[in-house]
């Protein structure tokens, strides 16, 4: 059986013998450890070795059998290579984590093996292994970084293997097949399982795949009538974890409707006067001025606005944010964040001088909450620009939002404009740690007949449902209600803003 193996492995054996001539490959002795078998097992008896020293093995070939308690465990090789030394004998007991054997592996430049897998052996410490090949001088673990490309999938019994919950089915393929796949830019996970033994991907699978891809374009996901299991992506998983933490916060809710009719009436005028630096260049009216304001002295140059921050019309949101920011200046409690440094001491609140408001952003990548710092110091036009810029970043794939837009400090209030998505009236938003002391969900503005107006005959008014959730450890119900009335005072009577020369 040994000779039969050699014949089949002629390519590999030839590779090993000529490796010195191949520029970018080198032989490394890997120490194969007894990996954690699970079930709390700490040591196993080696029952049987399936290989002898100098045996050529492929990844996934049976290496040895161990026994622990009532379990018989078969261990397969994580590497292709040659077994150079068996470190534990049959009948001996090995502790989990100890070395079982040494396997000489050929590393090619194209195979990126993460630094902590390779542990080159110092020849001087192994005087009896005269058959070790010459090991090149650059032997620091970090040196394998220069060979890094696509990381090789780790064998389940590889001691550094961490079960990647995304990949439930491993990809079996010999190194030569992997090499071809890399050369042709084929992702092996698209082909798994292959047509070979145990689902191994063979060379013909790659050929077929490329032939198929050429004719049909992108492979179509097959629709099944069966349940499909998906793993949560990183952002959604972060949302999961944040929402679990939100259970620590005692929420209470409060909803009302705001009357936007007056604001609605102002919008055309406001839209007509968007400062030029917020307008896209194509829209800016280029009327030649008979008299220029810069004739005596140029006014301060406007700030640089990126194209993604330019817009042509306002929405209600910047106005609502601005009025909210003004209300926050009158209500320090809503500029507070919980900053208890020591869990055993009394809770503390830190009041900020400005109104920091986080905005919930639903993007293709998931739910994010970037923060507008000092919203009170920005004009409505500037707020509108910021909102446009943030949503542009969020819609990039991968997400363009950086810690600059999503600082750890966060806002003290969060606004969720879910009305932009659906014609909702009210919601029950969830407050997460770091999201401030309260969150408000804005519904969709709609025209209703308000019987309270127009001297009893009623009037058509534009109403917006708003739903608050607040942290009851910090905020009282009455305080929130009063704060919302303060906000309403600005929203429903925008004329007041003139007095403040906003």
């Amino acid at each position: 059986m040994f000779t039969r193996r050699l014949q089949g492995k002629r390519f590999l054996v030839a590779c090993l013998h000529t490796s010195r001539r191949v520029q970018n490959s080198r032989k490394v002795i890997e120490k194969f450890k007894l990996a954690d078998i699970g079930e709390g097992i700490t040591e196993c008896e080696i029952i049987k070795w399936n290989v002898k020293p100098q045996a050529v093995i492929q990844a996934f070939d049976p290496l040895c059998e161990v026994q622990s308690d009532k379990a018989s465990v078969e261990i397969t090789s994580p590497f292709d290579g040659v077994v150079t030394e068996l470190l534990v004998q049959e009948g001996q007991v090995a502790k989990v984590g100890s070395n079982l054997c040494l396997i000489e592996v050929v590393k090619e430049a194209a195979i990126g093996i993460s630094p902590n897998v390779a542990e080159p052996v110092n020849t001087s410490s192994n005087p009896d292994t005269n058959s070790l090949p010459t090991i090149e001088s650059e032997q620091e673990p970090g040196s394998s970084k220069e060979f890094a490309s696509a990381p090789r999938r780790k064998h389940p019994m590889d001691p550094t293997f961490t079960p990647d919950t995304k990949s439930n089915s491993p990809i079996y393929a010999t190194p030569s097949v992997r090499h071809i796949a890399r050369q042709r830019g084929v992702d092996l996970s698209q082909l798994a399982p292959g047509s070979g033994k145990d689902g191994r991907i063979e060379r013909r699978d790659i050929d077929d795949y490329l032939a198929g891809a050429a004719t049909t374009g992108a492979p179509v996901a097959l629709q099944d009538d069966q349940d499909v299991v998906v793993e949560l992506g990183r952002t959604r998983h972060s949302m999961w974890k944040a929402m679990e933490k939100s259970l620590h916060i005692p929420h209470f809710g409060y909803s009302t409707t705001l009357d936007l009719t007056t604001l609605h009436g102002l919008l055309p005028s406001l839209n007509a006067n968007i400062p030029p630096h917020f307008l896209p260049p194509s829209v800016i009216p280029t009327l030649p001025l008979a008299v220029s304001p810069s004739s005596v002295y140029p006014p301060s140059p406007p700030p640089e606005v990126p194209p993604s921050g330019q817009y042509t019309r306002l929405t209600y949101l910047p106005f609502l944010l601005k009025t909210l920011a003004k209300s926050m200046l009158e209500w320090p409690l809503f500029r507070a964040s919980i900053t208890t440094t020591d869990p055993s001491s009394k809770p503390t609140l830190t009041i900020r001088p400005h109104s920091d408001i986080s905005v919930a952003l639903s993007t293709p990548n998931g739910l994010y909450t970037p923060t507008i710092q000092s919203a009170d110091s920005h004009s409505m036009y500037a707020l509108s620009s910021q909102l446009k810029y943030l949503s542009h970043l969020g819609r990039q794939i991968p997400c363009g939002l950086t810690p600059k837009e999503m600082p750890k400090r966060g806002g003290t209030l969060t606004v969720s404009n879910v009305g932009a998505i659906g014609a909702g009236d009210f919601a029950a938003p969830v407050l997460v740690p770091g999201g401030g002391v309260a969150i408000v969900a804005l519904g969709r503005a709609k025209w209703v007949w308000d019987v309270d107006r127009g001297d009893g005959s009623g009037e058509r008014r534009l109403k917006l449902g708003v739903s608050w959730s607040a942290d009851h450890r910090v905020i009282e119900g009455a305080e929130l209600a009063a704060f919302v009335e303060c906000w309403r005072g600005y929203v429903e009577n925008p004329a007041r803003l003139i007095a403040d020369s906003v």
Binding site: I37, G38, E39, E45, I47, K48, F60, E65, Q67, S68, D69, K70, A71, S72, V73, E74, I75, T76, E90, G91, H155, P156, M157, P163, N168, S169, P170
Partner: protein, 368 residues
């Protein structure tokens, strides 16, 4: 099942009609190695009377081989999973649950079987060795096998087994045999029928199928159950190979870990102590030493002068004759041939007689 090179198990629940233990163990192994790694699988089967030892056990230590030989047609079989020695007959039902390795949990699988037993009206529990018991007595033994993608938990369930036979065939007290293999943990056992007369193999099978289906979300149970016969697997090479491997000497005896057996026997002319060391069923060496009997013991027979002198080189020859022979498969005649003594009746000198005594004794020892 049609014959095809890429035949794989597609069902989740297999019931074997065969009572051939070699077939059932090979079927189990085929299902284990060929089922899609992420899908759960259940196998239930019964065997004709046999003794089954664990993968790494020593049959000479675990099995009462002389008693076994007396019973015609009852073999001992080494299985592929770890654990201890059990006795199978038609009153015992075997279950085997196969799962993906990463989600395998032996306690959970034990609970599935426990629920099945409890549903038969028996107040059963699981002990700290993950065996199902009723009170202090075991009704089931378990063993496990783990490979890179899959793992299984299989075990016995005593329903109406001949417990006397079980006790007899598993009775073995070779205190001076030290083995590196796994020793069985002996426990008192009882049949389920002793707690509830109405329990049958069929009822147990139905209960396990039901609990397994519930646990692993198998909706179309009838569609998932596949009844397997030996004939239907005649074309599955893997199973046929397994059936011929299991009874082979290389597997049954040749997988025995290293052990040492120290025995002494007092003869008329003296006491011989033999320390036999064996690994993988082969005798590595046998150290024999001789101590001459006291005058008080052998006052009756005439101790010929020089008997010690003539015996010692013969002992060396006996040791040499045993070297590299298969433990338990050497006859006295073969040993004596190594000494140049042909047959039992040839020559009656006391030195030769002693050699014959020793040879017969060693043969008997290794067959016990």
């Amino acid at each position: 099942m049609p014959s095809s090179p890429n035949l794989i198990p597609t069902h989740s629940i297999y019931l074997s009609k065969s009572t051939n233990p070699y077939f059932n163990l090979s079927l189990e192994d085929w299902l284990f190695r060929h089922k899609a790694p992420n899908e759960p699988l259940l196998l239930l089967y019964r065997d004709d009377p046999c003794v089954v030892i664990g993968r790494n056990q020593n049959p000479w230590k675990e099995v009462n081989l002389p008693a076994l030989r007396v019973r015609e047609g009852v073999p001992f079989i080494r299985r592929r999973s770890g654990g201890g020695t059990v006795y199978h007959d038609l009153g015992n039902t075997n279950f085997s649950i196969h799962l993906p390795r990463t989600s395998f949990d032996r306690h959970m699988t034990a609970q599935v079987v426990l629920r099945a037993v409890c549903s038969l009206g028996i107040d059963a529990t699981v002990n700290d060795r993950n065996d199902i018991c009723v009170g202090k007595e075991k009704v089931s033994g378990s063993a496990y096998k783990i490979v890179s993608q899959r793992a299984y938990h299989h075990g016995t369930m005593l329903i109406s087994t001949q417990l006397n036979t079980l006790g007899d065939l598993l009775h073995n007290t070779k205190d001076t045999m030290e083995t590196k293999g796994v020793a069985s943990v002996r426990s008192p056992v009882r049949n389920l029928q002793q707690f509830n007369r109405g329990v049958t193999h069929e009822a147990f099978v139905d209960a396990v199928v039901h609990e397994f289906s519930k646990e692993y979300g198998i909706r179309n149970v009838d569609g998932e159950v596949q009844i397997v016969s030996e004939a239907s697997c005649r074309d599955i090479e893997y199973i046929q190979n397994g059936m011929s491997e299991l009874p082979s000497w290389e597997w049954a005896y040749g997988q025995t870990p290293e052990f040492t057996y120290t025995v002494s026997q007092a003869f008329e002319w003296g006491t011989v102590t033999a320390k036999i060391r064996s690994k993988h069923g082969i005798i590595l060496d046998c150290a024999c030493s001789l101590s001459v009997a006291d005058d008080s013991v052998s006052s009756m027979s005439a101790i010929q002068p020089g008997v010690v002198d003539s015996l010692n080189p013969q002992l060396k020859d006996i040791e040499r004759a045993l070297l590299n022979r298969r433990y338990g498969f050497v006859s006295a005649i073969e040993i004596l041939k190594g000494l140049g003594i042909n047959g039992m009746d040839d020559e009656t000198g006391s030195g030769v007689r002693a050699a014959k005594d020793i040879a017969l004794w060693l043969e008997r020892i290794m067959n016990s």
